[in-house]
């Protein structure tokens, strides 16, 4: 379940103690990293593509106003409608207005993080419209009343017995004594159930991985084919997406696609990559009669020109969370944000405010793995550091931390004193801990030592070692 942002520390503690979640994490984590590496090893051009992908996004963001206007004009030229929405509330209202005007009662949905961001499903339900999630992972979460714990593998935290239990409970019309021998049996049952929904839906809502300015095209990427059934069969297709998804051309999109699937699932290419441009044309026998794009800002335009601009490059591949030791320990729900992991730690304070989301950019070891695997080279640790600075400047961090930093800063500005003090501390701690080699408890660090031991220093400080080494080298 999505937990509260403010309760991050409690959430994390309970996640570490959750046996089912820990089993799911242990299974999935090495799998993602291994598959990504294998795909990259097969493509010598990967680094060049990464650099090109970064440059395409930077170029687009620097001219975002131009490319959005060009994109919108092309959508309209193809017979579609663009609904510009500053806030989540605007976007929900735009979707409802489209549904009301077209007499829509049921909608199928492809996987979309932006619709999670604007909490579209409860809003539609409250207004008498039934949304049906069709991505297999999103489908079971809807049955269970849960939110995604990962941006590309939403049901990442569930084990097979959870699926069986939910299917038995929700598909009560099927024989109660049926046996799920393999995972495939679960998949087949969901396929049968959702087929009826695809055929009955009045509207289909999808997200977009990319929006192409030159042609007014929305691009979605799926492995299941649910997005294509969602956007092809119903009368109305609504694309719910956000402004940073725009790229100039088809060729730019192809470069980004080459790094997307490899970084995400380790596939060379997703099964279905679909380019949609406007509604059904004059002689067409299928396709939607209406094509709408609900284009959300929700704080993104305010990132342009700031130290957080680089975050607008994000293509939502999830490589950062797949390689993150913090995500790997606690999973996605503990973050209390729609977007978990390193990318979520940078994006969430932008969407929800640093007051509410201050714990997230602090939940990092700064190991740098996220930046090293990012297909568009977002300096995630640096961006988290900027949030920590803002939090400190606005006096949002706890008093003990602020006093501690103030004391440290006083010493750090006086190098001779700093070295003497740290040397004394290192030698003193080393002497006191010489028997056990570690401390189970230390004054002023009780919270830290509660869950781990502090190793006793072995010998002198880093500075002393460094100075000695430099001296030896110059001789």
């Amino acid at each position: 379940m999505l937990q509260s942002l403010a309760a991050f520390k409690e959430n994390a503690t309970s996640a570490i103690g959750n046996a089912g979640l820990q089993r799911a994490l242990a299974r999935a984590k090495p799998h993602f990293a291994k598959k990504r590496q294998a795909a990259i090893d097969l493509l010598p051009e990967f680094e060049a593509l990464r650099e090109a992908a970064k440059n395409i996004k930077d170029h687009t963001i620097a001219h975002l106003d131009f490319y959005l206007e060009t994109y919108a004009a092309a959508v309209e030229a193809a017979g579609g409608t663009v609904h510009w929405c500053s806030t989540a509330q605007d976007a929900r209202a735009a979707v409802l207005k489209i549904c009301r005007a077209a007499g829509v009662r049921t909608v199928t949905k492809g996987k979309s993080m932006v619709t999670e961001e604007i909490a579209l499903n409860p809003f539609l339900e409250a207004n008498g419209i039934t949304p049906v999630e069709t991505d297999l992972g999103e489908y079971i979460l809807q049955l269970r009343g849960e939110t995604p714990s990962h941006i590309i593998a939403p049901a990442f935290h569930l084990n097979r017995e959870d699926w069986e239990e939910s299917f038995r409970k929700s598909h009560a019309d099927l024989p109660a004594d049926r046996v799920f021998r393999e995972r495939r049996d679960l998949l087949t049952e969901a396929r049968g159930k959702l087929r009826e929904k695809f055929l009955a839906a009045d509207a289909g809502i999808t997200g977009a991985n990319f929006l192409i300015a030159e042609s007014g095209t929305s691009v979605i990427v799926t492995n299941e084919g649910n997005g294509d059934l969602t956007q092809t069969l119903p009368r109305v297709h609504i694309v719910v997406t956000s402004i940073e998804k725009v790229v100039p051309t088809i060729e730019d999109t192809l470069t980004l696609l080459r790094v997307l699937a490899r970084s995400a699932t380790g596939q060379e290419m997703s099964v279905y990559t679909t380019f949609s441009t406007g509604p059904r044309r004059a002689a067409d026998t299928d396709g939607p009669q209406e094509y709408h794009v609900v284009l959300l800002d929700n704080g993104r335009s305010a990132m342009a020109g700031t130290e957080f601009q680089d975050m607008l490059r994000c293509i939502r591949c999830a490589a950062c969370m797949n390689h993150c030791p913090v995500y790997g320990a606690i999973g996605g729900h503990a973050y209390g944000s729609i977007y978990p992991g390193p990318m979520g730690a940078v994006l969430t304070p932008m969407l929800s405010g640093i007051e509410a989301a201050g714990n997230l950019p602090n939940a990092s070891t700064f190991c740098g793995k996220c930046e090293s695997v990012c297909p568009v080279k977002i300096p995630l640790p640096n961006l988290m550091r900027h949030w920590r600075e803002r939090e400190f400047e606005r006096h949002l961090s706890p008093p003990a931390q602020r006093y501690g930093l103030a004391i440290w800063a006083w010493f750090a500005k006086r190098p001779a004193l700093y070295r003497a003090a740290t040397r004394a501390a290192a030698l003193g701690l080393g002497f006191m801990g010489r028997k056990q080699g570690r401390f189970a408890w230390l004054p002023f660090a009780g919270a830290w030592t509660k869950t781990r031991d502090f190793p006793a220093p072995e010998g002198d400080t880093f500075f002393a070692h460094y100075a000695a080494r430099q001296k030896a080298r110059s001789q």
């Binding site: 106003d65 297999l136 992972g137 294509d228 099964v271 020109g305």
Partner: protein, 221 residues
């Protein structure tokens, strides 16, 4: 109005007003030129080797591939494929002229041209191009190539003229750009439908076709 507010916020962030006309012209020029990014070397091969690479990658992604020498071989190939898998001898065929002209002369194979119905088990569609780089098919929509036929049936059989197997996605889109305007829907398909949502373990046959059978037809441009 939201549109103006969003555009104004972006310009404020970027610390400038609307782009000067010379810069707009430069960006319009880039759109017209649509420059390519780095193209993987692995597809840059002779046609024969592109066909081989396409086959390798398509099979790696769990498609099956069969090579045919002439259109006359298509009906038998399809009939025996369906029989081998114990599938109903029923085929819904997209109404493209290249598919209409196939000499279907097997009485046991029931065929119908048009858009797939939910009860249709198998569709035959025509690929506009194949991409050697990843064993990917390119299928554009049109009055005679409905998207539904790519995605709704349990079994998808795709005819791919060998000469249309390109090195890269870019080469395939160049062919498509030549037939301006861009079709309403363009699908890039790499293997049959699948999901790894249950315990991150890959299972074939999610919502799209459970099987993808590609017929590579020699000697056609």
């Amino acid at each position: 109005m939201s549109r103006n507010a969003i555009i104004a916020a972006i310009q404020r962030g970027l610390k400038r007003g609307p782009l000067p006309t010379d810069q707009q012209a430069m960006l319009t020029g880039r759109l017209k030129a649509h420059p390519r990014g780095p193209i993987p070397a692995r597809g840059q091969l002779s046609l024969a080797d592109r066909i081989a690479l396409f086959t390798t990658y398509a099979e790696r992604e769990f498609a099956t591939v069969q090579r045919l020498a002439a259109p006359a071989e298509i009906p038998t190939a399809i009939a025996s494929y369906l029989a081998r898998l114990h599938l109903p001898p029923t085929l819904t065929i997209s109404g493209h002229p290249s598919l209409q002209s196939i000499p279907f002369n097997i009485p046991s194979l029931r065929i119908r041209f048009g858009t797939a119905l939910p009860t249709d088990p198998t569709c035959l569609t025509l690929a506009f191009a194949g991409i050697a780089e990843t064993g990917t098919l390119l299928l554009p929509s049109g009055p005679q190539t409905p998207t539904t036929n790519n995605i709704l049936p349990d079994n998808s059989i795709v005819l791919l003229p060998a000469a249309r197997i390109t090195a890269s996605y870019e080469d395939a889109f160049d062919l498509l750009r030549a037939e301006n305007p861009l079709p309403r829907n363009v699908m890039l398909i790499t293997g049959p439908s699948r999901s790894a949502d249950i315990e991150q373990t890959l299972e074939l046959g999610a919502h799209g076709p459970r099987r993808l059978h590609i017929l590579i037809l020699d000697g056609q441009g």
